[in-house]
Subunit: 357 residues, 3 copies
């Protein structure tokens, strides 16, 4: 995690991206610079969140970690909503889910498996997460099924999307209650290899409490800025390279927004902490589906034009396929390089499909 | 189970419903009265079946319990067929399956989980039931897939439905042979927490043999009457409240018809007999899919107009989704309140969708 | 395996089929004779492959067994491609997959289960195979999903099919590397009941090295001939009996082409070697999906007209259903006659559906 913390590099990439934005450089260059800046700033935000969470105590800290974990993606998505790019928002939700379950998990199992023949981890939590993921899929599928099979007004689709979003948020809050209050110790017991040493905040916080809070505020502001610069060039980039909104949202935005977690999971896998790596990948995709997606629906509602949860068939297939194979591979509690390669193969097939649209 | 047996209450609700029916009271009142009467009379029928089954010896008794277990639903469905309300029949089949797998199982796990942190049960039977459920789904899906993808006459759809129904009944009879003859002891061993004490007929029969048979006949006749009074007001109710046949069949009829089993399962869960509760919920939905549904196809055939097994897409999605998440949650052999809540969340999402149609 | 080796019977059926072909006998008779000849010659080819594999040493031998295991089906499919019967090729791929997972596995579990109450086997390999099968399904589904949901040219469908085929072959080669190089011993340990004694080549090769190679060449040539005679009468047979290409490919061709493996699996099951039987059935369907199907795409490409991987909805449903129930039944590592019956019931339902098209 050293690199992410290098303040000089962080500020340099931020300023360079700012310069590119305000000097109106070539769009491709702006895109590359702001992408790099998002990755660094999101890493910084993650570190600051963890540090504040440490001081906030276990319960509030867990809540902070859980809900701010995908802050960068959330901010990017809100900016996209303000631009009215609803298809790209939904594509980036899709992309975050499949990116975590196929790319991150695949690279983790593959890289870990090259170093260690068989990597084992506790399977109880994987089962619980699998059921949660199934609920999330069902919730994301229902509006589209409904729209495709019945004559229904746009307004009704939006109503249904709001109701589904509300149920998901209730389920998410109940999950926080379950995992942090009623069954805290039970889950801590089952995720035995998920020890303190395995986590990024391994040696306690680097910063004082005051400084952590200050950094959290600074990081959030920086993320907001670089996200805006990134979002601003997505449309020109899409035209220049002939890429669809779907592909940009599902692959470019999703990979950039999740880069910090990606590298953390892979590094854990290579330290034989495969259980923690699986938790990051699966947990992050759960958070997107159960928390980020419904929150975005409500934000769009308050901004005046409700975004529905009607995904395209290709997106639904991608999400369904990713959950199905990820569950199939994680349910035995043992992994090897070949399982990682299978996940990556599915990711490539989906990537080619989205690219060809 | 005390309440169900109170003869005064049973006769009172029956007579009140009769009065409402013959005096042609307000439809809403008739609906409420006949619903309550169905619940009580179905409970009485269940008790009488168990008592007769006790005297009939293990093998025949098991068969009686297995095939008369859903007698109330079967009678209601036959009355609906006679009225030509085929869509409502299929909706009530859908509703019984999802009601058992989501509502009953969900309430059982939730209520049991609030009282006991983790409830464990043997998982072998769950696996077998899961495979049976998968067969049932496949059988119920095939006619619709077939109809939607090929130009096919109505007659061919009915032929296919009859063949599928025949295969399901063969599978059901073979299941009775498997579970009561060839692998009786094996299944008794694996369902270890399903001890005598856990079941409703815990302290032996209350009635003599003769009286039990008499009561079975009386209860069947009573069920037939109250079911007819209930079915008679469904159409006026549907018009008055603007509810679709789909919603009435899948939610109102299904919940009323299954109320007796519902309360039994939840009470078992709260006594920490979660294995028996899971068996009731899963077993009942299996019986609907493998026995009640195909029997109804044959009954409609003998009544002169074969009901096909073509379900709507929303119904198929609901059934598929319910089986998928119920299997996901039951396959680890341990439950908690959050898993119950997840099942209930899916039930609410489906309920809203059916309501909006 | 004695019957397959009887040289007199082998040569007799071959010559009789040849006579029928060149004397232009009645089509039905030609079909029956060439079917029987294919079954015998494919059995001979399998035996010769095993014998050569024995002399080639473990690694190369394993590779030979793995890639020549479905040689007969491959040759039949290539001949169908040359005739331009692409729908029948895809139907025979479908049929081989569902035939192995439902018919072979079903008969094995059923026959084995009648003799032995419960048959147990190691479940680790089943899990790995299940994940591979899931990848295969995804790969086979994507082109059809893509075509059905987006306006796309025929050329693009073919490009996507070639890319998917390429990814599948990479995954297959990686699987050979995984199972024969990096995790050879691991897999040997987990498939504990898959001992030498269980396999057809139980008592070492019957033939010398030279003779084995000679027989392999002879058998391949014979397979090519009888396959051609069989393929030649499929169209007249389809017209005479009013059978669709889909039904002929998915049931007749698939059953005939896989007969040798079918009987081997069932005999193993009846010797209580159920693990080996499951491996044959699942392994063979994997080979079809991951190796035969993509190789056929490339062969059609080199022959000048690329076959796409767009399956019909009914085919996709059949494949999906077969994989789903086979995984459901094999994942507990214990089998009984009823599970076999369930698989056969699904096979019959699919057979009736394909027949009615």
């Amino acid at each position: 995690m050293k690199k992410w913390l290098n303040p000089a590099l962080l500020i340099f990439t931020f300023l360079l991206s700012a310069l590119g934005h305000f000097a109106n450089w070539n769009f491709t260059l702006q895109f590359i610079l702001s992408s790099i800046a998002v990755i660094f700033v999101a890493g910084f935000l993650g570190k600051a969140t963890e540090s504040v969470a440490h001081y906030a105590g276990q319960r509030l800290g867990g809540f902070l970690n859980a809900t701010f974990g995908n802050a960068a993606e959330l901010i990017i998505a809100i900016l996209l909503i303000k631009e009215g790019l609803y298809d790209m928002v939904k594509a980036s939700i899709t992309g975050s889910i499949i990116g975590n379950l196929l790319l991150v998990l695949g690279l983790s199992l593959f890289a870990g498996g090259l170093k260690f023949k068989i990597q084992k981890y506790n399977v109880t939590l994987a089962g619980l997460n699998g059921s949660l993921m199934t609920l999330a899929i069902i919730a994301l599928f229902i509006p589209a099924v409904f729209l495709n099979t019945h004559s229904i007004t746009e307004g009704e689709t939006k109503t249904l999307s709001l109701i589904v979003a509300g149920i998901l948020i209730v389920a998410y809050i109940a999950w926080l209650g379950f995992s942090m209050i009623t069954h805290k110790n039970y889950l801590a017991d089952v995720s035995d290899d998920h020890d303190q040493d395995a986590l990024p905040h391994e040696h306690g916080p680097t910063w004082t409490k005051k400084r952590s809070i200050l950094y959290l505020v600074v990081a959030t502001v920086m993320v907001a800025f670089v996200s805006e610069w990134l979002v601003g060039v997505l449309e020109p980039i899409s035209h220049e390279y002939g890429l669809s909104e779907l592909f940009i949202g599902a692959f470019l935005v999703a990979i950039i927004g999740n880069a910090a977690e990606h590298s953390a999971a892979i590094m854990l896998a290579m330290k034989n902490k495969i259980g923690a790596a699986v938790e990051i990948a699966v947990g992050s995709s759960l958070q997107i589906a159960l928390f980020v997606a419904p929150v975005l629906v409500f934000i769009s509602f308050f901004l005046g034009d409700t975004m529905d949860l009607v995904f395209t068939t290709l997106e639904l297939v991608a999400i369904g396929v990713a959950v199905f194979i990820a569950r199939s591979i994680t349910q035995d509690g043992a992994s090897n390089w070949y399982e990682g390669l299978l996940l990556l193969a599915v990711y490539v097939i989906l990537g080619v499909s989205f690219f060809l649209v």
